[in-house]
């Protein structure tokens, strides 16, 4: 237990350099990016003096390193600054936009897992057959269709033509589960497809690998039933690489959410980011990317910790 805590602390501490790197990258890129929030804020006809005045008020006239320092000092006190446009602190803005993204990513991850894992196992068990090849072919297709096309097509199909689901928008969970879900299903499907394709492939290959292992044979020799072998003996071992992919593609999900949220008009982190980039709302962009980076690293930390529960061999060995 003590070791475990130590391990945990170590992993958490190892986030610091990553976050440092992220903060520098983000800060540099943002400030290298042309486009001036003051100009955006003041609209088309603003005069140069007005712009200059606003820049001063926003602190944009300071040298870059000073701006960075101010930001880091703030961040250390969990103060990521305030949005230029939204009249709210960045942390609050992020919290306000977090719900939809969390729901969306969880739902699409769930859809992905629910489809992908059984199909992957199925394909692994029928390796080499037509069924296997067609499943794999479809999954390759799933990986090569751009997200926005898929989004628009599902919207056209299920929203406009069939009218089963609303085309866009969002209702919070407080509006009721179905109300909440009905807005999220289409985006989650279009977002989850790529994910599902990837997980199907990983599941298949890692199941195949595991099924070749001696302990599967030895379980058979013990008289274990086939079904139990697949789900009890094989899958748990095969789950590790799957989990890794799930953790790693979390970043991909958020990236996908950028486009999906734009199309389906979901007020989540992705939309917040895109809007903020368009508006050059520096504090928000910095805050969001920083936050996403923490979430990403955190999720992968969680995945790493999960490894240990799933596979004792990995426990604490990674150092």
């Amino acid at each position: 237990m003590k070791n475990y805590l130590l391990y945990l602390t170590k992993r958490v501490l190892s986030l610091i350099p990553v976050l440092f790197v992220v903060s520098v990258i983000v800060f540099l890129i943002i400030h290298m990016t042309p486009g001036d929030p003051a100009i955006v804020m003041l609209g088309e006809d603003a005069t140069a003096e007005q712009v200059e005045e606003l820049r001063q008020q926003l602190g944009l006239d300071l040298p870059l390193h000073e701006q960075y320092l101010n930001w880091v000092l703030g961040a250390l006190q969990v103060d990521l600054g305030s949005s230029y446009f939204m009249r709210e602190p960045v942390t609050e803005a992020i919290m306000n936009h977090l719900g939809p993204t969390i729901s969306l990513t969880i739902l699409s991850q769930m859809i992905a897992l629910l489809i992908a894992i059984p199909i992957g196992i199925f394909a692994a068990r029928r390796r080499g057959t037509m069924a296997d090849q067609s499943v794999m072919g479809v999954s390759l297709l799933g990986m090569s269709v751009p997200n926005f096309i898929l989004g628009l097509l599902t919207m056209l199909m299920f929203g406009v033509i069939l009218r089963w689901l609303p085309v866009a928008g969002y209702a919070p969970l407080s509006a009721g589960l179905w109300e909440h879900m009905k807005y999220l299903i289409l985006p989650a499907v279009s977002l989850g497809t790529l994910q599902a394709a990837l997980i199907t492939r990983i599941t298949r290959s890692s199941m195949l690998e595991v099924l070749n292992n001696n302990y599967i044979k030895s379980a058979r020799a013990k008289g274990v039933k086939e079904r139990q072998i697949i789900y009890f003996h094989a899958f748990r071992n095969a789950f590790l690489p799957i989990l890794t992919v799930i953790g790693q593609t979390f970043g991909g999900l958020i990236a996908g959410a950028v486009i999906t949220e734009t199309i389906f008009n979901i007020p989540g982190i992705g939309q917040l980011t895109i809007n903020s980039i368009e508006r050059r709302d520096y504090p928000i962009i910095q805050g969001v990317i920083f936050f996403v980076a923490i979430a990403y690293v955190g999720i992968n930390l969680f995945v790493d910790l999960l490894y240990g529960f799933i596979n004792p061999r990995v426990r604490l060995e990674k150092n």
Partner: protein, 328 residues
């Protein structure tokens, strides 16, 4: 052959290799334990001699051989070769020594790069030491391949297309192409069945005669060791507990562990029956070596003294050394 008349080529002096198992944060996280894989081992290999090293699995034989070549850092001790301490060498000097002291690894399945063909594997050491032109190298390799009893069409095979015995021979050929003086052979035959095993042993003997090689031969098959070695060292938990000429060890084993080992060797004769010395007790964890004599937890003859005092190495007969309180 008497030790006095031959020249030593490799002298190992109180070699130690301790693996420090650290917790999290590297050393900051605290040392979880120290595995004393090799603990104060000294011996000498002479010209044209085969030194057999036996011992329980996990007693540190492989670690010892890897430490000799500085493949892993040593904790303490000296390995003298040509008036130099290998452990202190660096850069090109070390590379030179490594050309003379070659190693054949324990596992023929993993010690060959699976993506290189036999030809490439053999050419590699020649390239490393910039030996010969392309044509000359080709000749050297073909020669060597022939010598280890393989055929020209093996040249373009991948390791996995070879049988275990053939792989072992490729490993041997690789070690031999650069004309080494000393060969360290880490269990070169234990993964093989008897018919392949005998091919390799014969080859080694022929090569030794031809090139005046010295061998450090690690194995756990007592039959093989007896067959090939001039002298034998017996290791137990990182310590060299007994050392002596082959015949002497087999006829008059002194250390209780050596005795147990010899008595447990299965004999290919259904009528052969003999008393086996049963070793009782737990094998101690290498993390936590017993005090006194490391063998006392399993020794049928252990006394009080064994638990507290580390036995000294004594010469019981000519060239026959043992570390055991029974022989003081």
């Amino acid at each position: 052959m008497s030790l006095q008349t031959s020249t030593p080529v490799l002298e190992v002096e109180s070699l130690k290799k301790h693996f420090v198992m650290t917790g999290s944060f590297g050393k900051l996280g605290g040392v979880k334990g120290v595995v004393k894989a090799v603990n104060n081992v000294s011996f000498t290999i002479h010209q044209n001699e085969t030194y057999g090293l036996v011992g329980e699995s996990g007693c540190g034989k492989s670690t010892l051989s890897r430490t000799l070549l500085k493949l892993i850092s040593s904790t303490d001790g000296k390995v003298k070769y040509a008036n130099k301490d290998i452990l202190q060498l660096k850069g090109s000097e070390l590379r030179h020594v490594r050309r003379d002291v070659q190693m054949v690894f324990q596992d023929p399945y993993t010690s060959l790069n699976p993506r290189q063909r036999v030809g490439q594997i053999l050419e590699e050491p020649l390239l490393i030491h910039s030996i010969g032109t392309k044509k000359e190298r080709m000749e050297i390799m073909s020669d060597m391949l022939e010598k280890v009893g393989m055929q020209a069409d093996h040249f373009y095979r991948y390791p996995h297309e070879l049988s275990g015995g053939q792989r072992q021979r490729v490993g041997l050929a690789r070690a031999l192409v650069v004309n080494p003086k000393i060969l360290i052979l880490d269990e070169p035959v234990s993964a093989l069945d008897v018919s392949i095993q005998s091919q390799i042993i014969n080859l080694l003997e022929e090569l030794q005669a031809e090139f005046n090689l010295s061998y450090l031969f690690i194995a756990h098959d007592m039959g093989v060791v007896r067959h090939i070695s001039d002298r034998i060292g017996v290791m137990y938990l990182g310590n060299l507990v007994e050392e002596g000429p082959t015949e002497r060890i087999f006829q008059h084993p002194l250390h209780p562990y050596t005795k147990a080992l010899l008595s447990a060797v299965p004999v290919a004769n259904p009528d052969y029956k003999r008393e086996r010395i049963m070793l009782k007790g737990e094998i101690p964890s290498p993390f936590d070596l017993p005090s006194g004599c490391v063998f006392h937890t399993r020794c049928p003859f252990a006394e009080e003294q064994c638990k507290t005092e580390v036995p000294q190495r004594t010469e019981n007969a000519a060239d026959h050394f043992v570390s055991c309180h029974l022989y003081h």
